[in-house]
């Protein structure tokens, strides 16, 4: 993999921040966008912009073809059976909310259980808290091992005959843990529950095959995988989606509208009320093309090598705590002794190095780790070992700086 050539396709990375070349280590928050994605969105607005599924005119047809072409691209990317199973949403959060609200409220009752883990992002916790409150169902957590992984034994002990929904992240955005989704889905199904996967940190890095995983729902966002913000995907098994009610009503999603009653379009459009995120879908399709050309195995291999290198190099720093398991996706979450992660992030920023600091939208996990906040460096296909060397150097300077001002 020619990282230098890849990096050249990301114009944003070619700049100085605070007098230093930008080192972008915050791709788990949002990835940068290659020229091909920027151009695809640009071209759409310059040449094809029109509303979809209604215009008889030429631009309307072009816009519709591109929008529905993007859906087919997504179907292929995650190996779904049909484009009827691909719903465009505003992002992972909206996708999970759609399932929690529509499927959850219709299928949960008092005594039923929703099972999640403490390593979930808030977007895979709060929709289930709300669904539990609305239906009287109980929210349960699969306990974590001390290294931040789950075991299948723990899953088997938590999932019961009363469990109706198991929702789990494929990759932890804090620990980098890669969860055994396929095996968990089998356990869920054995108990008659459905399995939802939060793929926000999975789809950008792993090969996603929903047929192989046999999950019932899979949610992800374009902006973490080189695509635009504001667009994501909910995959759902057709037989489940067909029996679910829309949660947004209006234009686009209707079949017939009478004075007092209406009927819905067929899948997937019944879940896409209002003018859809056309440019976003087109940008996502370009992002998928971009990633496919490199190949997700190559990308994952590159990221894991970077993660291994980062773990090795960061461990040479005295007084650093690193969180999460040894085998991990391309991110490292850490703290320096006696330096608050915000202060660390500000100091690194002065060196042009962008890392995330805070609770990473995972407050229950912070509590489990017994910290209020952490710093996180996350890697993607455009990062290099040199970026990590600069990070380590920046952290050594940070330590020295805060050591001296005290």
């Amino acid at each position: 993999m020619d990282v230098k050539a890849i990096k050249e396709q990301f114009p944003i990375l070619n700049q100085e921040v605070n007098g230093h070349p930008l080192v972008y280590l915050d791709s788990s928050a949002t990835s940068q966008k290659p020229l091909s994605v920027i151009e695809a969105v640009n071209t759409y607005y310059r040449e094809d912009n029109s509303n979809v599924h209604r215009g008889v005119h030429t631009l309307g047809t072009r816009a519709t073809d591109k929008y529905e072409g993007a859906r087919e691209k997504v179907r292929e990317f995650i190996n779904a059976r049909s484009t009827a199973e691909i719903i465009f949403t505003r992002g992972t959060t909206t996708a999970i909310n759609l399932v929690a609200t529509s499927y959850g409220r219709a299928n949960l009752k008092p005594g039923d259980e929703i099972v999640i883990t403490p390593m979930e992002h808030h977007s895979n916790i709060i929709p289930w808290q709300q669904a539990a409150k609305a239906t009287g169902a109980t929210l349960k957590y699969i306990p974590l091992q001390s290294d931040g992984t789950i075991t299948l034994e723990a899953v088997r002990e938590t999932v019961t005959a009363n469990t109706k929904i198991v929702a789990m992240t494929q990759v932890s955005n804090v620990l980098g843990t890669i969860n055994p989704i396929k095996e968990v889905a089998q356990i869920a199904h054995a108990h008659g529950a459905v399995m939802l996967v939060d793929g926000a940190q999975g789809a950008p890095h792993l090969k996603v095959d929903v047929a192989d995983l046999d999950c019932d729902f899979y949610a992800f966002s374009a902006h973490k995988m080189c695509g635009p913000t504001g667009i994501g995907v909910l995959y759902g098994k057709k037989e489940l989606l067909e029996n679910m009610e829309p949660i947004e009503f209006g234009g686009e999603m209707i079949d017939f509208v009478n004075l007092y009653d209406s009927t819905w379009k067929e899948l997937p459009w019944k879940f896409e009320g209002g003018t859809p995120i056309i440019a976003g879908a087109i940008g996502l399709a370009a992002a998928i093309d971009f990633l496919n050309e490199i190949g997700n195995e190559t990308i994952l291999d590159h990221e894991q090598k970077l993660a291994d290198y980062a773990m090795k190099q960061l461990r040479t720093i005295d007084g650093i705590s690193i969180y999460g398991p040894e085998k991990r996706a391309g991110l490292v979450t850490f703290n320096l002794d006696d330096v608050h992660p915000h202060d660390t992030a500000t100091a690194l920023d002065a060196e042009g190095i962008a890392v995330r600091a805070g609770h990473h939208c995972a407050q229950p996990l912070m509590k489990w780790l017994d910290v209020t906040a952490t710093a996180r460096a996350s890697f993607y296909l455009y990062n290099t070992e040199e970026d990590i060397d600069l990070l380590v150097n920046g952290l050594l300077k940070t330590k020295e700086y805060f050591g001296n001002v005290f």
Partner: protein, 144 residues
């Protein structure tokens, strides 16, 4: 910007308040208690104020957060003690202006060490850290 520029943010007096916070702890007896957090980063503060006849007799805080949020809380509690709530709120408004990088007229406000935080205005991502304690104080002033 280099590491030297960090000195505009991390002034000696700030780090002193961070390392040796004034008024950290809890007030025995009657007091107004305000819990506030910064949901974007997880910083949290509990501020207690003992107010008699509209005057802050005592102020203490507990909390967790970065050097900026904790030093700001320390300085704030130090500055408002003995002041009327009205004056404390005036100081808070002046502080907000200062965070926006505006020149402020501190005459008669007795801001003490607080002006050391002026450099925060050059670090927009950190302004909310600095204003957390002040926001808690304003909320408490409304409750009293």
């Amino acid at each position: 910007m280099s590491f030297n520029n960090l000195d505009t943010l991390y002034r000696q007096v700030i780090m002193d308040h961070y390392k040796n916070p004034r008024n950290r702890g809890q007030i025995e007896g009657d007091s107004v208690t305000i819990d506030m957090n910064n949901p974007t980063c997880g910083d949290r503060i509990q501020l207690q104020m003992q107010v008699e006849d509209g005057v802050v007799q005592d102020a203490k805080f507990e909390g967790e957060g970065c050097s900026i949020s904790m030093s700001s809380a320390s300085m704030m509690t130090q500055a408002i003690k003995g002041k009327s709530l009205e004056q404390a709120v005036k100081m808070s408004r002046a502080f907000s202006e200062m965070m926006l990088g505006k020149e402020i007229d501190t005459e008669g406000l007795d801001m003490e060490d607080i002006e050391a935080l002026q450099g925060v205005s050059k670090f927009p991502a950190r302004i909310k850290c600095a204003t957390l304690a002040w926001k808690a104080m304003e909320k408490g002033a409304q409750q009293d």
